[in-house]
């Protein structure tokens, strides 16, 4: 404080006034920026709240036992005696495709992540794999649908649940790669050295010690991948296409929750749109709950 006073006492009154004005200006700008940041954060949270509240408000209206247990029915618009439709076919289809996709994508992603963390180091091939995997992580998912259409749907003669699961599996791989590599890199090298010093071969060191030490992190990646593909629509539109009846046949077109939501939301009939909202609520709750579980799992570790 004393230093400030001594400096200002050297200044002429005009200069001192100028300095005070400058100080006020700096403070004003700082406060304006702070207010803007607060506002920006508020805007972000507002959108999340708006989406969640809209989903709850409009999704609960039609959410009842029928929605969960009945198959698709055409609109009852203007005739209440017709049977009420549901989303059972879509829920079952979504679960089947999501589980198969996770089961296919996880081992591949795990091996790639292990390769990057344990073998690649900074080799050119490793850098290329890491780079391409990161590109795949953000690549437009609709193009993965086009790819599977060309290599699976066309040769097998039609849309199928298996094609849908394969498209989703491609989306799973890079998510699992990223988390596996990150988690394995957090493991201290001394642990690896200790295991190898006991005479264990490298592959036993990785599978029995490194994977186990990174288990919760790897599991988080798998959960995040699962949540991500649960809501994927575009690739399924081109691969498993959708189906109005309950089907567990992987060689035929299969319904999925996101595709059913898309079709019913665009149907223009109020009762079908209500069902679409219930489906949207189910998908979002599922995705967000899995995300929160994954985060809790990861936090326990650190």
């Amino acid at each position: 404080m004393s230093a400030v006073i001594s400096i200002s006492s050297v200044l002429s009154p005009e200069e001192a006034a100028m300095k005070r004005r400058l100080g006020r200006r700096r403070r004003l700008i700082d406060n304006l920026v702070r207010a803007f940041c607060l506002l920006a954060t508020g805007v972000g949270l507002f959108f999340l709240a708006s989406i969640m509240l809209t989903l709850l408000w409009r999704g609960i209206v039609a959410l009842d036992w029928t929605v969960l247990t009945a198959e698709f029915q055409p609109t009852r618009y203007g005739d209440d005696s017709l049977p009420k439709g549901g989303l059972a076919h879509a829920i079952v289809g979504s679960l089947i495709q999501t589980f198969i996709a996770t089961a296919i994508g996880t081992p591949i992603g795990l091996l790639v992540g292990t390769y990057l963390a344990e073998y690649a180091r900074d080799s050119k091939f490793g850098l290329a794999v890491r780079f391409i995997s990161d590109i795949l992580l953000s690549a437009p998912s609709v193009l993965i649908g086009l790819f599977i259409y060309q290599v699976v749907v066309l040769p097998t003669g039609g849309f199928s649940g298996m094609a849908g699961a394969l498209a989703l599996a491609i989306i799973v791989i890079p998510v699992v790669v990223r988390t596996t590599e990150d988690m394995l890199q957090l493991i201290p090298n001394t642990l690896r050295e200790a295991v190898v010093a006991l005479g264990a071969p490298k592959w036993k060191m990785i599978t029995l010690v490194a994977w186990r030490a990174a288990l919760s992190g790897i599991l988080t990646g798998v959960l995040l991948a699962f949540a991500r593909i649960m809501g994927e629509t575009a690739p399924l539109l081109l691969t498993s296409f959708g189906n109005n009846v309950l089907s567990t046949d992987l060689t035929r077109a299969m319904a999925s929750l996101p595709v059913s939501i898309y079709q019913q939301a665009n149907s223009g009939f109020p009762d079908l749109i209500e069902i679409a909202w219930s489906g949207a609520l189910l998908v979002t709750l599922g995705v967000l709950i899995i995300n929160i579980i994954a985060r809790v799992l990861l936090r326990k570790r650190h």
């Binding site: 700096r26 700008i29 700082d30 920026v33 702070r34 803007f36 920006a40 972000g44 949270l45 959108f47 999340l48 708006s50 809209t54 409009r58 091996l111 790639v112 390769y115 990057l116 344990e118 073998y119 690649a120 091939f125 794999v129 780079f131 391409i132 995997s133 990161d134 590109i135 795949l136 953000s138 690549a139 437009p140 998912s141 609709v142 193009l143 649908g145 086009l146 790819f147 060309q150 491609i170 890079p174 005479g199 071969p201 490298k202 592959w203 949540a227 649960m230 809501g231 994927e232 575009a234 539109l237 081109l238 296409f241 996101p258 939301a265 679409a276 979002t284 967000l288 995300n291 929160i292």
Partner: protein
């Protein structure tokens, strides 16, 4: 000497550890790595093969042609409108999202008290987890009516009277499904990605640098513009490019709110289309092997090239920080 060595078992009889397991496992991991490369290569090649008939028929002009006519017998396709729609909607989304994302990142790194950082950070990250289709529905049933009533009719009509820039706001499309709505939804969707990247790179600025600036009496804003931004500039641009890459390929949300008209939008409130939404709208109904399907593969290939370039630049810019 000979007595002491004989107490140890001869070296030759020690059980040798076989390295077969190691070789198999290393080969397996390397093969999986190679699979990822092959996968991406296969995607490019497959899209290109699917696109060949359209490229052969229309040549390079396909890229800027603006006609899109799937009617049998008079088929003609050009990617011009959807490419422009994709680029313009994504760039607008970036313009909307970057200031907000910056505000959130600044708030989370410098302003928020410790106990608030985690819940708000998590909430913003959850915004990234909400599926695209949900943004589409919310956009169509909540945002579009709002834009139509409170922005286009209330504000747009006034702004349309302005000289020179008025045409940007003047539109005969009053449905509310428009370029503006699409950019707004895209902005909300990429907001968490940009904000999270910015927060992560801001957090990596050494505390000593910031503390030195604070010690000299700098305000938080001056620390931000004088220390944090210069230190993280490259990575911040990388984060923005990542958001751009995401926006370019976004499909379902855009399909719901952009209006899907094969027309270049001259006004914010015109309806237009993007590559991804043309594919989502027309592909499921196109005939296998038709020229239309090939044209859809062709625009898919172009989208792949564009987003690959953007994502590669983003990744390259983020390389020093997010390693």
């Amino acid at each position: 000497m000979s007595a002491s060595t004989s107490t140890f078992p001869p070296v030759g009889r020690r059980r040798r550890i076989s390295d077969t397991g190691d070789r198999i496992f290393a080969a397996l991991c390397t093969a999986a790595g190679g699979f990822v490369l092959v996968l991406l290569g296969a995607i490019i090649v497959t899209l290109f093969i699917g696109a060949l008939p359209a490229f052969e028929r229309f040549g390079v002009a396909f890229i800027w042609g603006t006609t899109w006519n799937p009617v049998e017998g008079r088929e003609e396709f050009g990617a011009g409108v959807s490419i422009v729609g994709t680029l313009v909607s994504s760039l607008l989304a970036i313009i909307f999202a970057v200031p907000i994302a910056f505000g959130i990142a600044f708030f989370l790194t410098e302003l928020a008290p410790g106990w608030l950082k985690r819940p708000i950070g998590t909430a913003i990250e959850l915004l990234a987890a909400v599926p695209s289709i949900i943004y589409g529905m919310w956009g169509l049933f909540v945002l579009v009516p709002f834009v139509q009533k409170n922005i286009q009719l209330a504000l747009g009509e006034q702004l349309a009277a302005l000289p020179l820039v008025g045409f940007l706001f003047e539109s005969t499309n009053f449905a509310g499904t428009s370029l503006f709505s699409a950019s707004l939804v895209l902005a909300i969707m990429i907001l968490p990605f940009i904000a999270a990247t910015m927060r992560d790179v801001f957090d990596q600025v050494p505390a000593v640098y910031k503390e030195s600036a604070y010690g000299l009496g700098a305000t938080r804003w001056e620390v931000m513009t004088g220390v944090v931004i210069p230190y993280t500039r490259v990575s911040v641009v990388g984060g923005i490019m990542l958001g751009l890459g995401r926006a370019l390929g976004e499909t379902m949300a855009v399909t719901f709110v952009i209006g899907n008209a094969n027309r270049i939008a001259t006004s914010l409130f015109d309806s237009t289309t993007t590559i991804a939404s043309v594919i989502a709208m027309e592909f499921p109904e196109s005939l296998a092997g038709s020229l239309q399907q090939s044209a859809l593969f062709a625009i898919g290939f172009l989208l792949f090239v564009i987003s690959f370039a953007v994502l590669a630049i983003s990744r390259w810019l983020l390389r020093p920080r997010l390693k």
